[in-house]
């Protein structure tokens, strides 16, 4: 099946998630953009608007995902005008597929399209490398997603409420950030339903602490004065 390890699909910096709930979708992502070992942008916005009711989570090459989003936004805009009503999530996903599939040799970007339309309600489409399109109740992507397969196998359930879905997404991105060097920064979520779009922002200090992570403090000096006579242990 494979022609050597060099050709096995390799993961890309980022953690992105798309989840459906009863009434809409929640999209989530971290905010780290890296060039090699350097973090070029620690507060990027990887959840990009395509139309009023459809957003896309971007992973992989920043340039490739940006240009694909720009083209799809352009085509969807025309489509909306010609259609006379908001385009459906499926159409957006298919446009992304066309670009991803027909340029598969040149592009390196995995995308998650999510949104709400009046015909199908909230929908999530996963579009990994190669241009396969899969409509799914939830999907994860990016290098950080490797650490989340087990988590979602256990924690995902059908028919969650909006709050449950948002909490699940935030927890998941936060867990991925803890273990994936290519993911980090803040957690951003975008919730889309019949009432519109809501953006939320979770800075690092509001996220739960995981194994071996400690409560941040301003300085050692704070503990030095407050603690016992021998706080500096040799």
């Amino acid at each position: 099946m494979d022609s050597g390890d060099v050709n096995a699909p390799h993961s890309m910096g980022t953690t992105i998630i798309g989840v459906t709930y009863d009434g809409g979708v929640v999209l989530g992502a971290d905010s780290r953009t890296s060039t090699g070992m350097y973090v070029a942008n620690r507060a990027s916005d990887k959840i990009t608007q395509l139309t009023d009711n459809v957003y896309v989570c971007r992973s992989g090459s920043a340039a490739d995902s940006q240009i694909v989003s720009d083209y799809v936004r352009y085509f969807l805009h025309q489509h909306t005008i010609q259609l006379g009503q908001p385009s459906t999530v499926k159409v957006a996903a298919n446009l992304v597929r066309l670009l991803s599939y027909n340029n598969k040799n040149m592009l390196q970007t995995g995308l998650i399209v999510g949104g709400w339309d009046k015909y199908e309600g909230g929908k999530i489409y996963g579009i990994p490398l190669g241009g396969t399109v899969l409509e799914l109740p939830f999907t994860i992507g990016g290098s950080g997603s490797s650490y989340l397969y087990g988590f979602f196998d256990q924690a995902w359930k059908e028919g969650m409420t909006r709050e449950e879905a948002e909490q699940l997404v935030v927890k998941a991105v936060s867990l991925a950030i803890a273990r994936d060097g290519a993911s980090g920064g803040v957690v951003r979520t975008v919730t889309i339903n019949k009432d519109g779009v809501t953006r939320k922002f979770y800075p690092g200090d509001t996220l739960p602490l995981w194994h071996e992570e400690m409560e941040p403090q301003n300085s050692l000096l704070d503990t030095l004065s407050a603690a016992s006579p021998e706080p500096m242990v040799s």
Partner: protein, 245 residues
């Protein structure tokens, strides 16, 4: 709107920029498909896995699809290429229906069309990275064929793709016979799929079985197979050779 649909820019022959004009390797892949002829028609089986390298990433990928009234297709290999093949086939069937002449494409014709598509892409060094099984019944005639990414194609009483060739076909060579009943056919396919589940790393335990007869196509709901691990040799593998593994 042609911009997105048009093929990438014209390129020179093999060499410098050629890499932008050929599929190098697959990303999301499906594993074996197994097919047999039986008394009333054809049975196809495939699991619902979409692997991403060594990760079993997607577990509800439908790899068996009806084609027109008389055929079913099963695909292994790159899923995005299979989705594209389904678009070609849907267009083929549409055009066939638009003739409105009472004739409809049978499985042999569809298989031939696919063979031409696959072989021509192979000649351009830009293959559709799939191995396909095409089965169907028309006017009482059963047909079961296969074609792969290099254009190799043939028909037989039982066919398989990928690992299925190595694990399922020997079982079928031994146990297939003319005029299997539906129940016998399903049991035989399940036997093959179970072995594949044990021995193929990219297999997942969720499968569908598709049936096609003169009456039409049915594809089962997804289901899982029981597996058997309760053997004394498994419980105590190193008895009689302590220290071995």
């Amino acid at each position: 709107m042609n911009l997105a649909d048009s093929t990438p820019a014209m390129n020179s022959l093999l060499g410098s920029e050629a890499d932008s004009q050929r599929t190098l390797y697959p990303y999301v892949t499906g594993t074996s498909v197994v097919g047999i002829k039986y008394k009333d028609g054809i049975l196809l089986a495939a699991d619902m896995g979409g692997s991403y390298g060594s990760t079993l990433r997607y577990k509800t990928v439908e790899r068996l699809k009806p084609v027109g009234k008389h055929s079913i297709i099963g695909a292994s290999g790159e899923i995005s290429d299979f989705q594209e093949i389904m678009r070609y086939l849907d267009e083929l069937i549409l055009y066939d229906n638009m003739w409105d002449d009472g004739n409809s494409l049978g499985p042999k014709e569809v298989h031939n069309y696919l063979t031409r598509v696959m072989y021509n892409r192979r000649n351009k060094f830009n293959p559709l990275w799939n191995s396909l099984v095409l089965g169907g019944v028309k006017n009482g005639q059963k047909y079961l064929g296969t074609v792969n990414m290099i254009g190799v194609h043939y028909e037989d009483n039982h066919v398989a793709t990928g690992f299925g060739n190595h694990l399922a076909r020997p079982i079928l060579r031994d146990e297939w016979h003319e005029n299997l009943t539906f129940e016998e056919g399903v049991k035989l396919l399940e036997k093959c799929m179970r072995v594949l589940l044990y021995r193929d790393r990219s297999a997942v335990n969720k499968l569908q079985i598709a049936k096609i007869t003169e009456a039409g196509v049915t594809i089962s709901q997804p289901y899982s197979l029981k597996t058997f691990w309760d053997f004394s040799a498994f419980k105590n593998p190193t008895v009689g050779a302590e220290g071995s593994w």
